[in-house]
């Protein structure tokens, strides 16, 4: 027989430190698959966040920089501005991108930086042990919302991707997932689009991946994915929010 699916070459052989079933691994895999297919390893520079994916550079065989917590978009801007010919992406969690990094996130998008920002939304702070994230759902229990998130104290889940889509600087904004083979296929297309747009100097692209955190959620991976479909997708519906610079009409939940 011949192999019909093998690990992408640009993904290193290092065993990933992620917990069993964690979405980070899947996203890494698809991303590197696209780097392989587009044959852009030598022009790609990635920026890792502070978060569980802080070690992304152990697994992605491309030049990478590890940014301070929340500053990945600024670091990516610094790189892209002095190396405009290269393909630059940042990879960030919800705490990194939507809490401490809010300013850098919004202004990079508003400047229309010609970069790709990958946003892993698992509604929790995985790395530090399961605290509330800006995207944590109402009523969701975390180590810092033991009674569940309430609007009085912690406000509302922040749909930052929707805000970014409103900015004229943002060219392509989409929300994806990695829980099923089809979701994976769709995410792969999104990555292809984003990198092609960057090559064409179209400007800022944001790909949110609604993902899981079995450890933080205290569920088995299989249950976590089920819970995600049931509870996260309604608030964070999958699909394009902005395509080719135009807002995509979609009924808001």
């Amino acid at each position: 027989m011949e192999s019909v699916w093998t690990k992408p070459e640009t993904l290193t052989d290092t065993r990933m430190h992620y917990c069993p079933g964690c979405g980070h691994g899947a996203v890494h895999k698809v991303l590197m698959e696209v780097v392989d297919e587009m044959n852009i390893q030598s022009e790609t520079i990635g920026v890792a966040p502070v978060g569980c994916s802080v070690f992304a550079y152990h697994y992605m065989n491309v030049d990478m920089q590890e940014a301070a917590h929340g500053r990945a978009a600024a670091v990516a801007t610094g790189i892209k501005r002095v190396l405009p010919e290269k393909i630059v992406f940042s990879y960030q969690g919800d705490g990194d991108l939507a809490a401490i990094g809010t300013g850098e996130t919004i202004h990079a998008a508003n400047r229309g930086e010609n970069i790709l920002v990958i946003f892993i939304n698992n509604a929790i702070y995985g790395m530090t042990g399961g605290q509330m994230a800006p995207t944590t759902l109402l009523g969701m229990k975390t180590t810092t919302t033991p009674e569940g998130r309430t609007t009085e104290t912690q406000g509302f889940p922040l749909k930052i991707t929707d805000l970014i889509a409103m900015l004229p600087g943002a060219y392509y904004v989409t929300r994806q997932a990695v829980h099923t083979p089809n979701a994976i296929r769709s995410l792969k297309k999104a990555f292809l689009n984003a990198f092609r747009y960057q090559q064409a100097r179209k400007g800022y692209c944001l790909i949110e991946v609604v993902s899981n955190c079995p450890s933080g959620w205290k569920m088995t991976p299989v249950d976590a994915n089920k819970w995600m479909e049931k509870n996260m997708f309604p608030l964070y519906p999958l699909g394009d929010l902005k395509a080719e610079g135009k807002l995509v009409e979609r009924k808001q939940p």
């Binding site: 093998t6 895999k29 083979p181 991976p221 994915n225």
Partner: protein
């Protein structure tokens, strides 16, 4: 019995037993082993020879430890290329109620 014939190769030592592939397999060809690997995980194994090589398991596997093979249409399998699943378990029953004791806690936290 599936029309197309395929098979998978699973690196049992790096598998984390997340069971997502098992979930994703339309043929119910996969299952978690009774044994644990060096990391203490019950790894995925192919338990029937009905794999169609649809690649679903490989696609969802977060750790990219699955390689998928498929009977190439037209030509017959060249022995050289053919690969056997590394682990096949006949009886997956077990009298030990295996509890996936809390998913590894203390991850790197920064």
């Amino acid at each position: 019995m599936a029309s197309v014939h395929g098979s998978v190769e699973i690196q049992v030592e790096t598998c984390k037993g997340c069971e997502l592939c098992v979930e994703a397999c339309p043929q119910d060809s996969l299952k978690l082993s009774k044994e644990i690997n060096k990391l203490g995980y019950h790894y995925a194994v192919l338990i029937q020879d009905n794999c169609t090589g649809c690649t679903n398991c490989a696609l969802v596997c977060p750790d990219a430890v699955i390689t998928v093979y498929r009977e190439s249409k037209g030509k017959t399998a060249s022995a050289s290329k053919r690969k056997e699943p590394v682990a096949v378990i006949s009886n997956v029953k077990s009298n030990v109620k295996v509890v996936l004791d809390d998913v590894p806690k203390g991850k790197v936290s920064i």
